[in-house]
């Protein structure tokens, strides 16, 4: 590796160290509202994690023998990974459909996706009772090939690798490694194709995890089509996240974004909302088919039925119409509103399958403890910290150095 890395200012080792140390230091103000809120929560979360490994999972969670998967799986992993779906959709549009105009959001989306996998799939480790055995399905101390979870776990791992490769040219540009940058850029298309294939399978695989829990999930949310529904919804889940994240980063990091990209961003948002409309429509249509197919009419007039209707009408149909209306009328604010509603809808849907509708009839309901929620928030905040650290240093939002311009 070393001979391919050449540090911008000097070739000497010393200055390379200086460069790294300099980059490690925080940039910007320390006393922002975000820091003031996130730091205590991250510290508290860390403390709770220590307790969890010391005293067992039961010491900080409300999980029961009947409900063995709670917020950490249902929200952190299942929902978090759906939101990370933006990366495969955007790379599909840019590298496979050759929609060049979306190029400017590829890096930030892939970075977001990569970090989401690292942190949310990483949160899985907190939930494992015996995490030291996590390498077993990798080293072959039992290949549970008939297990959907085996598939999902492997795919997480490989997909992280694919996303790292997709993102690696940015790292090479940061380090000024010209040759490495060229080689890594050349691997992008292969990584993208591999990544999209993996995403198709594990986004649906997350739904397939619950197929065997047939009697445990409320029938309104259980069907043999969960995998397809999860896959289709990951498209608009991911894109709404891209829209939402984009509108925030464009405010917070506006100094890094060129005038041209600022202008283009509105066009991009309109394009994405068009895709969202289509995906939401397909999803709604599928849900209706599944509903009619399973003949669940009687359940509609129960409280769970009202909840189901709320999800379908308020969190699928409504944002679909909003997206449609706003891209027709070029209303950027409304696009952002629609993306937030869509994201809420995805959270509601995933939690309905994994937590709310899971053992909905049990005598004792699972409600996450405040400690589970704090740990979840700590995970999210840590991810945002790292995200900010990277954005401030690597050419993600900002333009690539001029030498790298014509490489890809």
């Amino acid at each position: 590796m070393n001979n391919t890395i050449s540090v911008p200012l000097s070739e000497e080792k010393k200055s390379r160290w200086k460069f790294f140390l300099g980059e490690l230091k925080p940039k910007g103000k320390m006393f922002t509202w975000f820091n003031v809120i996130s730091i205590p929560i991250m510290l508290l979360g860390l403390g709770l994690i220590v307790i969890r490994f010391w005293k067992g999972i039961g010491s900080i969670t409300n999980l029961t023998q009947e409900v063995p998967w709670g917020l950490w799986i249902g929200f952190d992993v299942v929902t978090g990974v759906a939101f990370a779906g933006g990366a495969y959709v955007v790379t599909f549009m840019v590298y496979i459909l050759n929609m060049k105009s979306y190029r400017s959001i590829v890096r930030v989306t892939v970075l977001n996706g990569f970090l989401a996998y690292v942190f949310y799939a990483g949160a899985l480790l907190l939930d494992l009772g015996r995490p030291w055995n996590v390498i077993n399905p990798i080293i072959g101390n039992g290949f549970g090939t008939s297990s959907v979870l085996f598939l999902v776990a492997w795919h997480f791992l490989l997909y992280m690798l694919a996303e790292l490769i997709e993102f690696s040219p940015a790292i090479a540009e940061w380090l000024g490694a010209k040759r490495a940058c060229k080689i890594l850029s050349g691997m992008t298309l292969a990584a993208v194709i591999f990544g999209i294939t993996l995403s198709t399978l594990h986004q649906s695989g997350l739904g397939a995890l619950y197929l065997m829990a047939k009697e445990k999930i409320h029938t309104l949310w259980y069907s043999e089509f969960i995998p397809i529904l999860f896959f289709v919804s990951s498209i608009f889940a991911g894109l709404s996240m891209v829209i939402f994240e984009g509108s925030i980063t464009h405010k917070v990091f506006s100094d890094q974004i060129s005038e041209k990209n600022h202008e283009q961003h509105h066009k991009i948002l309109r394009g994405l909302s068009k895709v969202c409309t289509g995906a939401l429509f397909a999803y709604f249509f599928l849900q209706v088919l599944v509903f009619v197919h399973s003949k669940n009419w009687d359940y509609l007039s129960t409280p769970m039925g009202y909840w189901y209707l709320t999800e379908m009408l308020g969190f699928v149909l409504l944002p679909m119409l909003l997206f449609y209306y706003s891209y027709r009328n070029n209303n950027i604010t409304l696009i952002k509103v629609a993306s937030v509603i869509t994201m809420l809808g995805v959270i509601v849907n995933r939690l309905n399958v994994t937590v709310i509708g899971f053992r909905w009839d049990a005598a004792v309901h699972y409600v996450p403890s405040w400690m589970e929620i704090v740990v979840t928030m700590a995970v999210i905040f840590t991810e945002i910290w790292i995200f900010r650290w990277v954005i401030n240093r690597l050419p993600v939002l900002r333009e690539s150095p001029s030498w790298a311009k014509n490489m890809h």
Binding site: Q65, P68, I96, L128, G129, N133, L149, I196
Partner: protein, 287 residues
């Protein structure tokens, strides 16, 4: 657009299997092997609710002795410290006792769920859990239709616990502890085929004593714990709506489609990539 049950997955699955094996995937092996599993027949008409099975189970597995007893209207549950319980039910013919534990399914959901094969259906019949493999993900608990595997939530080195049909005793040629000690002869150990024949014989010889069904013969694809009851099984706390097909069959369609996607997707993506490439310099904006 017509959506037939599983037709989408099935089509993908067959294609996938064809790609991988070069021929259609063979159906599950027929029952020949399955019937020779070791099994236990529990006859609740003979059970006197004495809890000897609970005590001997606790002794055999170094667990604390039970402190409560079967009480009508109270459903005691297995947990991380007890792998079997006897409950008392108020039925149409009066009090009936029922012993519960792992059903040792022929094609267990827990085993298919486990990504490390820590949950394992032995060829002898018992479904066992292996400490050195398990990563504590609890997917087996999510998947088991009988809610059998339990987890030690309060331990930093937690185990999954459930009845293992005394597999270690069986290996030494001994009977499962509960079977050996049952004073009422409510428990019988043998091969699954023998026991089903025996259960049929009991039903046909005493049709007034037994309800005409062997629970576990077909439930969840068949189990190695078989039940006889004097009353319909829903009266004694069984889920009679349980599906007849095995639970792992619910995910087969999805798993079969995986190789197909792996082969077809990259080809398709490359194709699209190639088709859209030419236009790229002219059309800057696709939307």
């Amino acid at each position: 657009m017509s959506i037939n049950r599983r037709s989408f997955f099935k089509a993908l699955g067959v294609t996938g299997a064809t790609f991988v094996f070069g021929k259609e995937a063979p159906a599950r092996p027929a029952n020949e092997e399955v019937t020779e599993f070791k099994a236990i027949l529990y006859d609740s008409t003979k059970c006197i609710g004495c809890q000897t099975c609970e005590f001997s189970c606790a002794e055999a597995h170094n667990l604390p002795e039970p402190e409560d007893f079967p009480e009508m209207g109270v459903v005691r549950k297995t947990d991380e410290n007890r792998r079997t319980v006897v409950n008392s039910y108020d039925t149409s013919i009066g009090e009936v006792y029922v012993k519960r534990q792992c059903m040792h399914c022929n094609d267990p959901a827990c085993g298919a769920a486990c990504l490390t094969q820590a949950m394992h259906k032995t060829k002898e019949g018992p479904v066992i859990w292996r400490e050195d493999k398990c990563m504590g993900c609890r997917y087996c608990m999510v998947s088991c239709p009988f809610d059998v595997p339990k987890f030690e939530y309060d331990s930093p080195n937690p185990k999954i616990t459930k009845c293992n049909m005394c597999f270690e005793r069986q290996e030494e040629g001994k009977l499962p502890a509960c079977v050996e000690n049952c004073p009422g002869e409510a428990l019988l150990f043998g091969t699954r085929r023998e026991l089903i024949a025996e259960a049929r014989r009991r039903i046909s010889e005493n049709p007034d004593v037994y309800y005409d069904h062997i629970y576990g013969e077909t439930e969840a694809g068949g189990t190695s714990f078989l039940y006889l009851s004097p009353v319909p099984f829903e009266e004694i706390g069984f889920n009679t709506g349980i599906q007849k097909a095995s639970y792992p069959s619910l995910t087969k369609g999805f798993l079969y489609s995986v190789p197909a996607v792996f082969v077809l997707w990259p080809m398709m993506l490359l194709g699209i990539q190639d088709a859209t490439k030419d236009k790229q310099p002219k059309t800057e904006d696709h939307e």
